[in-house]
């Protein structure tokens, strides 16, 4: 009976959602939310959150998995190059991580995310072992500014490393759909198997202007640095790189090298980067002990470390996600004091600013609304 009900309600969900969001309905279910009951009928159904069903799983390489996600009607679409925050449950614990969409808007639904699995990663473990077709996950709306301008430049350069290929694949697929006829240079660096290699090969056929350079940076290839990104190598492959709009995505070291080069050449305004790992490991140690007061909880911490670690060490349970300054789950209002964002080096001195707990350290006595 339930599957039929689910099926017959599906087309009506959009108008029903409007009704279900009214105050009358929320008074009837208070203190629960409407979603809490809707999920009994259909686990995808929500008036508040984008939920998605895993409809296909494909192992791309030994270390990368693609998931196809069919979102509910709350999904507002995306631009090529954007990412989503994916919330999954592994061994009973929820985790949120950000992943670039590797499909293009023109590909339509389902969406595809390609996840590079890392050793010891909770989400990786889930993607490698536990996820099954039919599972429900929560996704955020599309986020990020790593997108092409509406007027697509005629000369493009993509520089990608490892799983940094994923958002750029989305850009390239979109260009294919839009029948891009300009020049496109693409330098890809990979330590082992190239993720989405087949698709990359297909693009060479479907994108006439594409010149692809794939460099293997793995240890087996002799001198370690020979295949790594350098100006000489860039110049050799793409002599006209100075006149390109550049999109770079990859591991921290690659992004640092690329940014460094373009800064030196005064070309930073032509460069767009996306990094999903902090560009340097957050050095959170050796801070002088500052007093941090968690005002709402009436707890004071005198230790050291990131504000998130200190809150947890004090027995609090602030909301958190990635713990590396990306997902902003742990954003918290700072009432007073000076904190430094260890990722960007930015110092927040103003009272009443929102800060990210996981990558912020105290530079003075701090009061937090936590």
């Amino acid at each position: 009976m339930l599957p039929q009900l689910r099926q017959s309600l599906r087309p009506a969900r959009r108008p029903l959602n409007e009704l279900l969001r009214t105050r009358v309905v929320s008074a009837l279910v208070k203190p629960r939310r409407v979603d809490d009951y809707l999920e009994l009928i259909d686990p995808l159904w929500s008036v508040q959150y984008v939920r998605a069903r895993v409809v296909r799983i494909h192992e791309e390489t030994r270390r990368a998995v693609s998931l196809w996600l069919q979102p509910n009607e709350l999904w507002r679409g995306f631009r090529a190059g954007q990412y989503v925050r994916l919330t999954i449950s592994n061994r009973g614990v929820q985790y949120s991580r950000c992943f670039s969409l590797s499909s293009a808007p023109a590909d339509g639904l389902p969406l595809r995310v390609t996840i590079q699995t890392v050793v010891d990663g909770c989400v990786s473990e889930w993607a490698r072992q536990y996820v099954q077709v039919g599972d429900i996950v929560e996704v955020s709306q599309a986020l990020g500014e790593f997108v092409l301008p509406h007027a697509v430049p005629r000369r493009l350069l993509f520089i990608t490393g490892g799983s940094g290929i994923t958002p750029v694949m989305s850009l390239a697929r979109q260009l294919t759909h839009e029948r891009f006829t300009g020049e496109l240079y693409w330098l890809h660096y990979s330590r082992d198997e190239v993720i989405l290699a087949d698709e990359l090969a297909d693009l060479e056929r479907t994108l006439p202007g594409l010149r692809l350079f794939v460099h293997n940076t793995g240890r087996r290839c002799g001198v370690l640095s020979r295949n790594h990104f350098s100006e000489e190598q860039l110049h050799r492959s793409v002599p006209e790189y100075r006149s390109c709009e550049v999109y770079a995505c990859g591991p921290a070291a690659l992004i640092e090298d690329v940014t460094g080069l373009f800064r030196e050449r005064g070309l930073l305004d032509r460069l767009q980067v996306e990094h999903f790992l902090p560009s340097r490991r957050v050095p959170i140690a050796g801070q002088q002990a500052c007093r941090v007061e968690f005002q709402r909880s009436a707890v004071v911490s005198t230790g050291t470390g990131s504000l998130l670690d200190r809150a947890e060490a004090s027995g609090l349970l602030p909301r958190f996600g990635c713990r590396m300054g990306v997902c902003r789950s742990c954003v918290c209002r700072k009432i007073s004091g000076v904190v430094r964002n260890e990722l960007t080096g930015r110092v927040s001195t103003e009272p009443d600013e929102d800060i990210q707990l996981c990558i912020s350290t105290a530079c003075s006595d701090v009061v937090l609304d936590l």
Partner: protein, 380 residues
């Protein structure tokens, strides 16, 4: 009055060294369980929540059809009991915080019950659990209405306490909701009116939305079936009240449970704290469904030792706790539901009368040094 314990335990106090060894064994047990938390616990609470919501939807739907009144009322009662006992109370203890699920986070969860979550977290998680059975600190000793311990001085008003108890049982939800307001202290002018109003505001807000839902909105939606919906909701709420009252009073007042004066609980070690939690609590024996309906408060002893361990784990650790108690000669009070309830009701009747020996009438009460001062009731 015969004291019933399930096994005869030598009534002697532990040496400091024994107490420390006892504490270490309990700490180790707790750590072992916390290490093991995961998929099984998450699946359990999610399934329980799903069942509770299904029962609620089905119950409310049945009440719209007058011939199904009894079924609807039964299902709604079941769902209301599960929401408060097995889900709300346990989630609000932070038992499922390990799941990192915003909907099940102890400090945010708002239960479907008149007492506002934040006030509950203060009076229950903090005052009741930290100061369990300490007369003058733990307001659950008689709820400011009943005399449940020798340490509470008798006055003539207590003669009618069997009647108050009936009233409290029938309107337990309301009783718990106004618990934090400390009406008795306001009447004695120990609590300022301003503070009272500040505490009362969230109660009035929550209470009115609860009352609106059950007694205005749903009957209103039912049209001609309104009286059936109204009476079904009322019955379900009253049944839940009586059940919750019975379970909660059985947890701390059957024979064998102890109450404490403030000075006894002052500056106690962690081991002594464990000991007080055990001595102040009593378990209920019965089939699994009974444990679920009590929200596993049938394992009150385990709950008071480890309030943030998922309650569904208590049955599996209870034998170990019991064995430890036996090993150290600590009384472990446990009995079937009817016996525990009978003893509790007898106690209510007995303490309506003045104590025969006026031994333990407290004079000036020194304040207890609290392990951690909590600034306001609204602390998360």
């Amino acid at each position: 009055m015969s004291v019933t314990a399930d096994h005869e335990s030598p009534r002697r106090s532990l040496t400091a060294r024994e107490l420390e060894a006892f504490r270490l064994e309990l700490d180790a047990l707790r750590e072992r369980i916390r290490e093991d938390l995961g998929e099984r616990d998450a699946r359990y609470i999610r399934r329980m929540i799903k069942r509770q919501r299904q029962a609620e939807l089905a119950g409310r739907a049945c009440l719209f059809v007058p011939p199904l009144w009894a079924a609807g009322t039964g299902l709604l009662t079941l769902s209301k009991i599960l929401e408060v006992m097995e889900i709300g109370h346990n989630v609000m203890h932070g038992q499922y915080d390990f799941m990192n699920d915003p909907a099940l986070r102890g400090r945010n969860y708002e239960w479907d019950w008149a007492c506002p979550g934040d006030q509950w977290r203060h009076t229950h998680n903090y005052l009741h659990h930290v100061f369990a059975n300490v007369v003058g600190e733990d307001r659950d000793v008689g709820y400011g209405l009943l005399r449940m311990a020798e340490e509470q001085p008798w006055h003539a008003g207590y003669l009618l306490q069997p009647l108050y108890a009936v009233g409290l049982a029938l309107a337990f939800e309301l009783g718990v909701a106004v618990h934090h307001l400390e009406l008795n202290r306001v009447l004695r002018q120990e609590k300022s009116l301003a503070e009272f109003v500040e505490h009362a505001r969230p109660v009035v807000r929550k209470l009115s939305s609860q009352l609106f839902k059950d007694y205005v909105a749903f009957p209103g939606l039912a049209g001609p079936a309104a009286p059936f919906v109204f009476s079904g909701n009322l019955t379900a709420n009253v049944l839940r009240n009586v059940w919750a009252f019975a379970v909660i009073f059985c947890g701390h007042f059957p024979d064998g449970t102890q109450t404490y004066g403030r000075e006894q609980a002052a500056d106690e070690s962690r081991g002594a704290w464990y000991l007080r939690q055990i001595a102040g609590s009593a378990n209920i024996e019965g089939p699994r469904w009974l444990h679920v309906l009590t929200g596993h408060l049938s394992h009150q002893i385990e709950h008071h030792l480890f309030p943030d361990v998922p309650a569904a784990r208590y049955p599996e650790i209870a034998p170990e706790v019991r064995a430890l108690c036996q090993k150290y000669g600590v009384r472990y009070t446990s009995g079937p539901f009817t016996r525990q309830l009978g003893q509790t009701l007898k106690k209510i009747a007995r303490f309506a009368l003045p104590s025969r020996s006026p031994a333990l009438v407290p004079t000036a009460k020194p304040p207890v040094t609290r392990p951690r001062e909590v600034a306001s009731a609204h602390a998360a």
